[in-house]
């Protein structure tokens, strides 16, 4: 795993440096645009750097609390959810974390999960109540294992640093935009008298371009960070839980869920196990996606037949995407790990619900009810036989009901 850790350090260094350059450039542009000539650039850059430094120190010291606060997560104790706690403990043993992470719950019907904390010693895992409602034990274990994979690969620290940097850039760019609009209006008459002010106009345009472009650039850098990471965390998740099918099923369920997460911040998006923001289509989807496509992740996990180690994941990934993903050294070190049998953990609340529904459906159809579906809102209704022949309006949307073949 040290290979991933080292490559993460290198990449984080690169991203942090690139973002730093962007940040200082914004500061310089802002300074010179504000003061009217190039001499304002240096203090502008220095102020921008100072702002970032303060934010970075805050993020390093309190970043996990800020992230958890943004997601409105609350810490829970073992008595609140023993199964979740047990699963986290099991997975931290499998990941050899040394310390059991703190466990948080987010009250949100949308199923999702994330990890926070600067290093493995201070790690936290947060899951939404929606996730707990629909996943069974094996699937929950897969999700927690994936999150601990992020912790183990030091992804969390990187996301925190880069997230703070992106936040500062966006903030400064917004500030610059306002300053430029105000000062631009005031100076426009003066700069038209051609008294050596051509330079200032160029400066203004450059500053404007930078201020408009840098938040986008920062976002691209930031998002590019997280995609490969998701695959690697999936590989770790499969290894830790020794049951790739659990994670695959969980991802499917998470992808199938319709409720969007209420935390829609772009800064926190890359930390979740599935993308909380609705994905854009086309080229933008490719560039701005925080996560790789879910069906591909599921397909890779399903293709690892029989073993749960990195080598199996890499082979499966090559089969799906045509190239290798796990670092060479990790592959050499990887010894074969057998997939464990599933734990029969009892049905999920959802499964119980479905079974109840099947039973009541069977009863209703036996007593002559017919199934009708609304052509507008697709609501499925069961109607007593006495009303079967009549024209009825959908009680939900007033649309027309169409007959459904008994199936």
């Amino acid at each position: 795993m040290w290979e991933q850790i080292r490559s993460n350090r290198r990449r984080s260094l690169f991203v942090v440096a690139a973002m730093g350059v962007l940040l200082v450039a914004i500061g310089v542009a802002l300074g010179s645009a504000f003061s009217g000539d190039a001499s304002g650039g240096l203090p502008g850059g220095a102020v921008a750097f100072g702002i970032w430094l303060v934010m970075w120190i805050v993020a390093m010291r309190r970043g996990d609390d800020i992230m958890l606060g943004m997601a409105r997560a609350r810490e829970i104790e073992k008595a609140d959810h023993p199964v979740l706690f047990n699963v986290v403990e099991e997975m931290s043993i499998a990941a050899q974390l040394g310390r059991v992470p703190r466990v948080y719950v987010v009250d949100d019907p949308s199923p999702n999960a994330f990890a926070a904390g600067r290093d493995p010693e201070k790690a936290c895992v947060a899951v939404t109540t929606g996730l707990l409602r629909i996943l069974d034990r094996d699937e929950l274990q897969g999700v927690v294992a994936h999150e601990l994979g992020h912790v183990k690969n030091r992804d969390v620290a990187l996301i925190t640093t880069a997230g703070v940097m992106m936040g500062s850039i966006v903030m400064l760019a917004e500030l610059g935009w306002r300053v430029l609009r105000v000062s631009g209006r005031r100076r426009l008459p003066r700069s038209s008298n051609r008294e050596g002010n051509g330079g200032q106009a160029v400066l203004m345009i450059a500053a404007l371009a930078l201020i408009v472009l840098s938040p986008i650039l920062a976002q691209l850098l930031y998002f590019a960070l997280s995609r490969r990471r998701e695959y690697l965390a999936d590989a770790s998740g499969a290894l830790f839980s020794r049951y790739p099918e659990g994670l695959a099923r969980a991802l499917e369920k998470l992808g199938g869920a319709s409720e969007p997460l209420s935390d829609k911040s772009k800064v926190t998006a890359p930390m979740y196990i599935v993308a909380p923001l609705r994905a854009a289509r086309g080229i933008r989807a490719g560039l701005l996606a925080t996560h790789p496509p879910l069906d591909e992740r599921v397909r890779v996990l399903r293709a690892m037949s029989g073993s749960a180690d990195f080598r199996a994941y890499d082979e499966a990934y090559r089969g799906v995407a045509g190239r290798s993903i796990v670092g060479l050294h990790s592959l050499e070190e990887s010894s074969r790990v057998e997939v464990r049998p599933p734990v029969a953990g009892g049905p999920t609340p959802l499964a119980t619900h479905r079974r109840t529904r099947e039973a009541s459906d069977a009863y209703l159809s036996a007593s002559g009810y017919v199934r009708r579906v609304c052509t507008q809102c697709a609501a499925l209704l069961k109607i007593p036989s006495s009303l079967a022949g009549r024209e009825l309006a959908c009680p939900r949307c007033r649309g027309r009901l169409a007959e459904v073949e008994p199936g």
């Binding site: 043993i93 499998a94 020794r242």
Partner: protein, 181 residues
């Protein structure tokens, strides 16, 4: 000149031996640490069992044989100290527990008991933990043993004992309590 080269070589050789020795010590510590991880979970498991037996007694007191088997298997497991002995005893304990949980299927009241359900979750979680900790321990032990037995480690490993692997006997290991509803 020759003297200095000799001294340099001597220093290099000394540093190499020190590195080798420290590597062995590190490996041994990793192995011990791995075993203590398993040990914590085994103790946890042993501590849960009396509670479980009491709970089951409340509903199925006449199933004396099965309960007795669990208690005896626990006693044997508690007194086992080496990884090999523990592996054997834990396998027997897992098998006995499997029977107990299978028996619980016949007692709907017991199956609905909150305390029983909580204990069942704790026990199966503990078994999972033992499984995951075992993987880490066996990896560390194998690495350490290889380092100890291969050249040149074997020249200085006289005072290092071989690490035993921890394997729960197959029949028991697969007997994780299966619950169906």
């Amino acid at each position: 000149m020759g003297f200095w080269i000799f001294l340099g070589l001597l220093a290099a050789a000394g540093a190499y031996v020190v590195g080798l020795y420290n590597g062995l010590v590190r490996g041994r510590n990793e192995t011990r640490n791995g075993w203590s991880q398993i040990d914590v979970q085994l103790k946890r498991r042993h501590d849960l069992i009396p509670n479980l037996v009491e709970t089951v007694k409340g509903y199925a007191a006449h199933e004396k044989e099965t309960l007795q088997a669990v208690v005896e298997a626990r006693g044997a497991a508690v007194s086992a100290t080496t990884p090999a002995a523990a592996g054997k005893a834990e396998g027997a304990l897992t098998a006995a527990l499997g029977k107990l949980f299978a028996l619980a299927e016949n007692y709907p009241d017991l199956k609905a008991n909150q305390n029983f359900l909580a204990l069942q979750e704790e026990l199966s979680s503990t078994e999972n933990r033992i499984g995951f900790a075992r993987q880490a321990y066996n990896d560390a032990a194998t690495r350490y043993n290889n380092r100890r037995e291969t050249f040149p480690g074997n020249l200085i490993s006289g005072s290092f004992d071989e690490a035993e692997l921890f394997e729960i006997e197959e029949a028991g290991e697969r007997g994780v309590p299966q619950v169906s509803f």
